[in-house]
Symmetry: C2
Subunit: 336 residues, 2 copies
């Protein structure tokens, strides 16, 4: 079997130089690195992952922190798309992943401390953003690298990867207003998370711009809440926006059981495109937030930062777009 020493001899460099090439060290000139890599390939040398980990003193593992490991959250295609996309970028760069499984913030903090202290991960991707965040406070204090998928908060100098959710909700509401809707309801999840607050803000701003009243149902926590809201939806409402497509499924299910047809009797629209919306009853108009690009940007920026700790921390906004489907259509005047 070909060893680092064999490669070093052929390339006429020190074995430590070969190690540095393997660990992508900045201390090696591009020319030398290219030469060593060419010889490694010619000789069929494959770096041993464990050995590389030893050389670099890194775990080559990235921790992924979810806001909750509840079943509904995990089955949300948004997270699957983001996680798979992160996983792919990590694998392509020689990193593996560990996913947090805690349900409560205190438990998650404990889990993170353990990962950090045991040197199990090199950095984290945090899949949520909120004001009071003990986990981020801890990571920041230790200068442990992380990237956040979610909203940039106040004076933070962290790296944030996000959509402009205010704008996304504004566009979607405006789109419904343009179809002729004047009474649009918004059903929103938990207020703690920035994404829900922003989508609600965008909805309010679009309604205000058009001189329309708002009808908001906040803090719907589960299927039962949503059923109750839909059952008691005021008669004059002609369209419902939900802050998340999993919640939208519950809205559709309840409307189905009540015998109210979409888009004939009432119209619906939501955020985050996936197979669920494409194959819904009926297919849903939705704001595509490109979860795969969110995951890809987050992972590649974190990995780059792990190799270049002096890198400028630049946040990134991923654009959104509306996909029109059968759940919305031009509203005919009701009084004709």
């Amino acid at each position: 079997m070909v060893t680092i020493k064999d490669v070093a001899k052929r390339a006429n460099v020190a074995p430590s130089t070969v190690s540095r090439v393997i660990s992508n060290s900045d201390a090696i000139s591009q020319k030398t690195a290219d030469k060593v890599r060419r010889i490694m390939e010619e000789m069929g040398y494959i770096p041993n992952v464990s050995a590389r980990r030893l050389v670099t003193k890194q775990s080559n593992t990235i921790g992924l922190l979810l806001k909750s490991s509840s079943k509904e959250m995990r089955q949300n295609p948004f997270f699957t798309d983001v996680l798979m996309s992160i996983s792919r970028v990590c694998k392509d760069n020689g990193y593996s992943t560990v996913i947090s499984t805690s349900k409560e913030e205190a438990e998650l903090l404990h889990e993170v401390k353990e990962m950090v202290t045991s040197n199990a991960v090199d950095g984290f991707i945090v899949l949520y953003s909120k004001e009071e965040n003990t986990v981020l406070d801890y990571l920041r204090k230790l200068d442990c690298p992380y990237v956040i998928i979610g909203k940039k908060l106040n004076q933070s100098t962290d790296i944030f990867i996000d959509n402009d959710n205010v704008e996304a909700a504004f566009k979607l509401t405006q789109y419904l207003i343009d179809l002729g809707h004047e009474k649009i309801a918004f059903i929103a999840e938990n207020k703690t998370y920035a994404v829900n607050i922003d989508r609600l803000t965008g909805y309010r701003e679009a309604c205000a711009d058009a001189g329309l009243e708002t009808t908001v149902f906040e803090g719907a926590a589960g299927t039962e809440d949503v059923k109750h809201i839909v059952q008691n939806m005021p008669e004059e409402i002609t369209a419902i926006i939900t802050s998340d497509s999993m919640m939208n499924l519950s809205v559709l299910s309840e409307l189905y059981l009540l015998g109210r047809r979409i888009p004939e009797d009432i119209q619906t629209a939501t955020f985050n495109d996936s197979y669920l919306n494409e194959a819904a009853c009926p297919p849903q108009t939705v704001v595509d937030i490109f979860p795969e690009r969110l995951g890809q940007e987050a992972a590649s920026r974190l990995i780059k930062y792990l190799h270049h700790r002096d890198m400028l921390k630049v946040s990134k906004m991923i654009p959104t777009r509306i996909i029109e489907r059968q759940s919305t259509k031009r509203l005919k005047e009701r009084e004709t």
Copy 2:
């Protein structure tokens, strides 16, 4: 900071003994292991993951192989549930994971070879089962540890974690027959995978037992195929079973667009429970196959096997159960 040497001194054993305790070696008596662990805890010693990896010459990483990384597959809650459950067991045992991202078998084989040669993983969990499997042939030849979530094939001595899908489909078909259905259609995915073949077999057996004719639509590959099948469904069909709940979503969506009500006009049932079925239009009768238990059994058996390579390879069947929801009900005689 507390080191292995400190622990060894206090426990009055050699440092190598402490290392062996950390790596769960069989060579250490239970009594000694317990003592060393107690002292490690008292002294607040946390094993360094990179160091442990060096001691054990293991990557402490498990590779997860999906049958396809197509978007529909990834958004299938079955895989999310299985992956999250595997991920949890791995994390609890100090393992991280890498997920395959290849779409084609040849590409996957190449990916697996690279992971094995670079020592990036200690073993694999294979999330599909089929007759011709070049990846398994390769792993078997190298004696690389793996566990399969899927059907036990012919003479294989591998570890399989599965449901009895013939029985599950038999039960579901029998349940519909008991409700009074005499014309039940079955829409099946790709025939290459054992799970689809088995579910179809169970359906055929239940129909044969009841002296009923079968109506099978095989090899439906995507949304367009399913739409076409539903649009051309023979008039006399009173119930549709689909081999997978993602495909079932497309069936529901098309029935909705055609204005056919469930369960009044036609009834539906499928496999694998998730939020998608609970919040469907209407909520779906389904066979729960307990994906979390499949993932948990697979991961814990693989990890056990990694530590005890002489372990008897025992496969495990996870039981299934029918969950009744609004998509099915007792069929009234049509001719009354």
